[in-house]
C-alpha cells in the first residue's frame, strides 16, 4: 500500500527523468544526424570533420577554456588556501559565493562600461599618460571577463578540500624538516588535488559553452563551441549542424570529466 502510494507521488519525477534528461539528449543526438529537410544523413559530421573552420573553432574554444582554467586556478588556489586558514572561514566563503548570485549578464555588462573606449579603464590610462586602448572585442577582454566570472567556482571546491585538511599533517611535515615549499608541494597540494580537479571541471566545461560573453565582450572574434551552437540554432536555423556541435561539446564534457575524475574513489572500489 505504502509502496504504491509513494510510487504514485514519484511519477512526476520519473517522467522528468524520462523526458527532460533521457529523451531530450537522445533527440539532440538524432537531430545531429538530420539535414535541413530532416532526412537521415552523416553529412553534418562529415562537414564538421572535413572543414577547417569548424575544427579551428573547436581548437580555439578548447584553447581559450584551457587558458581561463589556468588563470582561475592560479588566482584561486592561494586564495582558497589563505581563506581556509582564517578564523571565520565559512563567512569568507559566503563572500566568495555572493558574487555568483549576481546575474552573469550584469557582470558582463559591467565590463562593457569598464572596457569601452570612453570607459573607466581608458579614463584612468589617459590620466596617467597613456593613449586610450581598444579593449572591447579583443581576445584578452574575453579571457579577463570569463576568468572573472569563473573564479568563485574554482575557489569553492579547493577551499572545501583545504578546510578539511588535518593540521597535524602540516605539523608532522614541518617537524620532519620539510621547508614551507616542500610542505606545500608534497603534502598540502596532493591532499587537495580532489578539490582542484572538481574546480577544473566546474570552470573548463562552462567556459567551452559561454556564448553571451563572446557576443557581448568578445565581439564575434572569439567563437566558442557554445557560440557556434547558439548561432546554428537561433540565427541560421541549421539545427542539424548545431546538434552535431552539441554532441561534440557533450563528448568534450565527458572527456574532461573522465580526465579529472577522483582516482581515490576508484581505488577504494577496487579494494572492495
Amino acid at each position: 500500500m505504502n509502496r504504491k502510494r509513494t510510487l504514485t507521488y514519484t511519477i512526476p519525477y520519473i517522467l522528468w527523468l524520462g523526458l527532460f534528461v533521457i529523451a531530450s539528449v537522445i533527440l539532440l543526438i538524432i537531430q545531429s544526424f538530420g539535414n535541413l529537410n530532416g532526412h537521415f544523413t552523416f553529412s553534418n559530421y562529415v562537414t564538421y570533420f572535413s572543414s577547417g573552420t569548424y575544427l579551428r573553432m573547436t581548437f580555439n574554444s578548447i584553447f581559450f577554456a584551457f587558458i581561463v582554467t589556468a588563470m582561475t586556478l592560479l588566482i584561486s588556489y592561494p586564495m582558497a588556501y589563505v581563506m581556509s586558514r582564517l578564523k571565520h572561514a565559512q563567512f569568507w566563503l559566503l563572500l566568495v559565493i555572493l558574487p555568483t548570485w549576481v546575474n552573469l549578464l550584469l557582470k558582463a555588462y559591467a565590463f562593457i562600461g569598464l572596457f569601452s573606449k570612453t570607459g573607466t579603464i581608458n579614463e584612468f590610462l589617459s590620466l596617467i599618460g597613456f593613449a586610450p586602448h581598444q579593449m572591447m572585442f579583443t581576445n584578452m577582454s574575453f579571457l579577463v571577463v570569463a576568468a572573472y566570472i569563473e573564479i568563485p567556482f574554482m575557489i569553492m571546491p579547493i577551499f572545501n578540500s583545504l578546510v578539511e585538511l588535518d593540521k597535524s599533517y602540516i605539523n608532522a611535515a614541518r617537524d620532519l624538516g620539510a621547508t614551507q615549499w616542500q610542505t606545500l608541494v608534497k603534502v598540502i597540494f596532493p591532499i587537495s588535488i580532489g578539490g582542484v580537479k572538481a574546480g577544473i571541471q566546474a570552470v573548463f566545461i562552462p567556459t567551452l559553452s559561454l556564448f553571451m560573453i563572446t557576443r557581448l565582450i568578445g565581439g564575434n572574434r572569439v567563437i566558442t563551441l557554445g557560440t557556434a551552437i547558439e548561432e546554428h540554432f537561433l540565427v541560421t536555423q541549421n539545427w542539424g549542424m548545431g546538434s552535431t556541435i552539441g554532441v561534440i561539446l557533450i563528448v568534450a564534457m565527458i572527456l574532461t570529466m573522465m580526465l579529472t575524475r577522483d582516482r581515490k574513489k576508484k581505488g577504494g572500489k577496487h579494494g572492495r
Binding site: 522528468w16 533527440l27 559565493i97 550584469l106 570607459g119 573607466t120 571541471q201 559553452s209 537561433l234 552539441g246
Partner: protein
Amino acid sequence: MVDKHKKWANIYLVFVFILMYAPIFYLIFYSFNKGDYMAGFAGFSWRHYIDMFADARLMQMLVNTFIVALLSALIATLIGLFGAIGIYNTKQASTKNVLLSLNNVLMVSPDVIIGASFLIFFTMIGLKLGFGSVVLAHIAFSIPIVVLMVLPRLNEMNPALIDAARDLGANSYQVLSRVVLPYAWPGILSGFFMAITYSLDDFAVTFFVTGNGFSTLSVEIYSRARQGIDLSINAMATLMFLLSLVLVIIYYFISNYSAANSKKKKGNRVVVH
C-alpha cells in the same frame, strides 16, 4: 617571519576580494550617476531609478521573471522532494546509483546543451514557445538541485523514527507529514531557495526556449546590453544585488540551522557509541 607571511596572505585576500567585488560596486555606483555613461561621475541623482520604474517594459520583465522563478521553484521543489523520497526508498544500490547519476546529468550539462535539447523537445511535442516552455524548462533544470538538497537530510534521518511511527499506528500519510517532512524541512527550504536563484540567474536556457512573445529580465538585459550602456540596467542591477544579498542571508541562516541540528545529532551519536 610567520607574521610577515600572514601579512602578505591578508593583502592577497583583500586584493582578490576587491577584484571580485569591484565590477559589481562599479555598476551600483554609476546607477546614481546624473550623466548617461558608466564613466565620469557627474553628480548624484535618482533619475535612473525613476526611469527604470517608469519603463513599463522593464517592469513587465521583472514581474515575468519573478512569476517564472516562484512558480518553477515551487513545482520543482514538489517534484524533487518526492523524487528524493523515491531515491531514498530505493533499496537496490545499483538502481540508486543509476537514478543519482541521471539526476545529476542536468547539473553538469552546459547551459547551451540544455537549452538546445529542450528547444528540440518542445518543438517536437508541438509546444508553443513562450511562458509555458520557459516555466517547464526552469522546472526541469531546478529539479536536480532540490533532490541534492533534500536527499542528504533524508539519509541523515534515523530509519527507526519511521518504524517507531508505524508501530504507533501512523499511516503512510502521517509518516510523511509528521515525521519525514518536518525532518527534511531545512533541506526542502534550501532546495526551494536554490531553485529560485537558479531560475533568476538563468539566461542561456531561457534564451533558447523563450520564442518571440515572452521574455525575462536576463534576456531583456542581454538585448539592451548589446546596444550599449543604459543606466536603467545599472539601477536594476542594484536592486537585484540587494535582493540576492537578502536571499544569501536567508539561505545562510537555513543552512546554519540545519548544520547546527546535524552537529547536535552527530554529537549524540558519538556519545551513544
